[in-house]
């Protein structure tokens, strides 16, 4: 079966998404119902609203993914349904999982439960099938900052992670503190272009220590600097904060690359859309003579195509799941941990 198709569903956090992905990892459709517009007025993502919105848009999103792939609800031409079963908020996960189970029963096809993190690790391969292994993936978003060695599909090792705040969280909190609203990352990135990155003296935490990172101290240092001096230019605050955050992320990523002798550095997660991080990562990889995989924004952020890709791998490796499988809000992806 080289032409099989998986319908993939993702609803673990802020996005409701569906996609159709072929066995050879071609993305026939990928629909994301971004909930940003809904959340902007609240200054952040609201869980109850997120849960309800998943429920409201699930069916139209799935239908759109099928139609764009040349199929329909009644003639789906689908061989399996893959769905994110964790980690995430239980209410949001259950919306996706229930929809997936209903479709499996209606169509008589198997269910595949996918770990959201593993989806992110597959995202780069959808756009760049020739990622050379071993690779180091820097997964960096509002909820994640992790350095993961990928030796191939299913073979992962956690090399380092944040010990407190995720990088994207620091971006959002700094942005909200200086009145830039939500989402804060793009606003800081934009403002930083016109600012002086050396205007504020900010810490680069744990630079000498292994592969873990910390962004809580940086966040506090920015807030203290802003409290002390209300004459600071927003662009200078943004540029200085961004320089400190990116310095640490790139330095640690390249240390991880050295440690495992990686052939590729892969960026993933929402912060991977940050222009300065992309520029500096590419620069460092060029210098080291390795490949740098910079997925498009659509593949960096939460989407269902990556769940489909991980789903094909899980199906080949473990077979389908029982329809009784539950959502697991704290599902840890099976991986070795660097000690």
């Amino acid at each position: 079966m080289t032409t099989g198709k998986i319908l993939a569903i993702e609803s673990s956090c802020d996005e409701t998404a569906a996609a159709v992905v072929t066995r050879d990892l071609r993305v026939l459709s990928s629909v994301v119902s971004s909930q940003i517009a809904l959340h902007e007025s609240f200054g952040g993502v609201v869980p109850e609203i997120a849960g309800r919105a998943h429920l409201e848009v699930m069916e139209p999103v799935v239908e759109a993914a099928l139609v764009q792939a040349g199929a329909s609800m009644t003639q789906p031409d689908i061989d399996a349904v893959a769905v994110t079963a964790g980690p995430g908020l239980i209410g949001s996960l259950l919306v996706g999982l229930s929809a997936a189970k209903a479709l499996c029963l209606a169509w008589g096809v198997p269910l595949i439960a996918v770990n959201h993190m593993e989806g992110h690790l597959f995202a780069a391969q959808l756009e760049n099938p020739n990622v050379a292994f071993p690779a180091v993936t820097l997964l960096v978003s509002g909820g994640h900052t992790e350095f993961i060695e990928v030796r191939g599909p299913g073979h992962y090792r956690l090399l380092g992670a944040t010990i407190d705040d995720a990088a994207g969280e620091a971006y959002d909190k700094v942005a909200r503190y200086v009145g830039l609203g939500y989402p804060g990352g793009p606003a800081i990135d934009r403002l930083a272009q016109g600012g002086n990155p050396k205007a504020l003296k900010l810490p680069r935490a744990m630079m000498g220590d292994g592969l873990d990172v910390s962004f809580s101290g940086l966040k506090s240092a920015v807030i203290r600097a802003v409290d002390r001096d209300d004459q600071l230019e927003l662009a200078d605050i943004a540029a200085s904060f961004q320089a400190a955050a990116v310095d640490v992320l790139v330095a640690k990523a390249m240390r991880a690359v050295d440690l495992v002798d990686a052939k590729t550095l892969v960026l993933g997660g929402g912060v991977a859309a940050n222009s300065e991080l992309r520029r500096r990562a590419q620069e460092a990889c060029d210098e080291a003579g390795i490949a740098c995989a910079l997925p498009s924004l659509a593949m960096c952020t939460d989407n269902a195509a990556m769940i489909g890709a991980a789903g094909w791998h899980r199906l080949a490796e473990n077979g389908p799941n029982d329809l009784k499988v539950g959502a697991d809000p704290s599902w840890q992806l099976e991986m070795e941990v660097l000690t």
């Binding site: 609201v46 869980p47 109850e48 908020l89 705040d165 809580s216 704290s330």
Partner: protein, 163 residues
């Protein structure tokens, strides 16, 4: 009565959290208040250490609610760690069902818990953190609002701290 203490570093705030763990019983929710960067997550990390949580405890701002397996002699099998920073109403917080979740052998530390204290169960300890005189100083005020944990017990457990 409110117990007020001062810590002088992130590590001290963590230690204080760890010692506070020794007076907790299943069902208690710690409602933590205080601005950005004031040490709420650090205190939660200390609490986790005191409860025998071995995994890494990080900020749940984006994940909203994290669950950690605990291992201690006090019958607390789970430490929940929530963050209301991104929520806007008590109704939404109510959906996280923290009051119900702690009933099965858990305790919960809720960052920004003061945004919706009324839907965080009946057995609450209120902890307020604020910036002290020096950059790294934090003033920490603790007030028990549950008969399950006596004020005297907290004062005794934290006896090593000068106010």
């Amino acid at each position: 009565m409110t117990l007020t203490l001062t810590t002088h570093s992130v590590e001290e705030t963590r230690d204080l959290g760890s010692q506070l763990a020794s007076v907790l019983v299943p069902g208690v929710v710690i409602v933590a208040a205080g601005g950005l960067g004031v040490g709420k997550t650090a205190m939660a990390q200390g609490l986790a250490r005191g409860l025998g949580v071995t995994g890494r405890v990080t900020s749940p701002t984006f994940t909203l609610l994290a669950s950690h397996r605990a291992n201690n002699s006090r019958g607390i099998t789970t430490m929940l760690h929530a963050d209301l920073y991104r929520t806007v109403s008590g109704e939404e917080v109510d959906d996280l069902a923290i009051g119900e979740l702690v009933e099965s052998g858990a305790v919960c530390f809720v960052e920004w818990g003061d945004l919706a204290p009324d839907v965080l169960g009946a057995q609450r300890i209120f902890v307020s953190l604020s910036q002290g005189e020096l950059d790294d100083d934090r003033i920490i005020a603790i007030e028990t609002q549950t008969t399950a944990v006596a004020e005297g017990a907290i004062a005794e457990a934290l006896g090593g701290w000068s106010s």
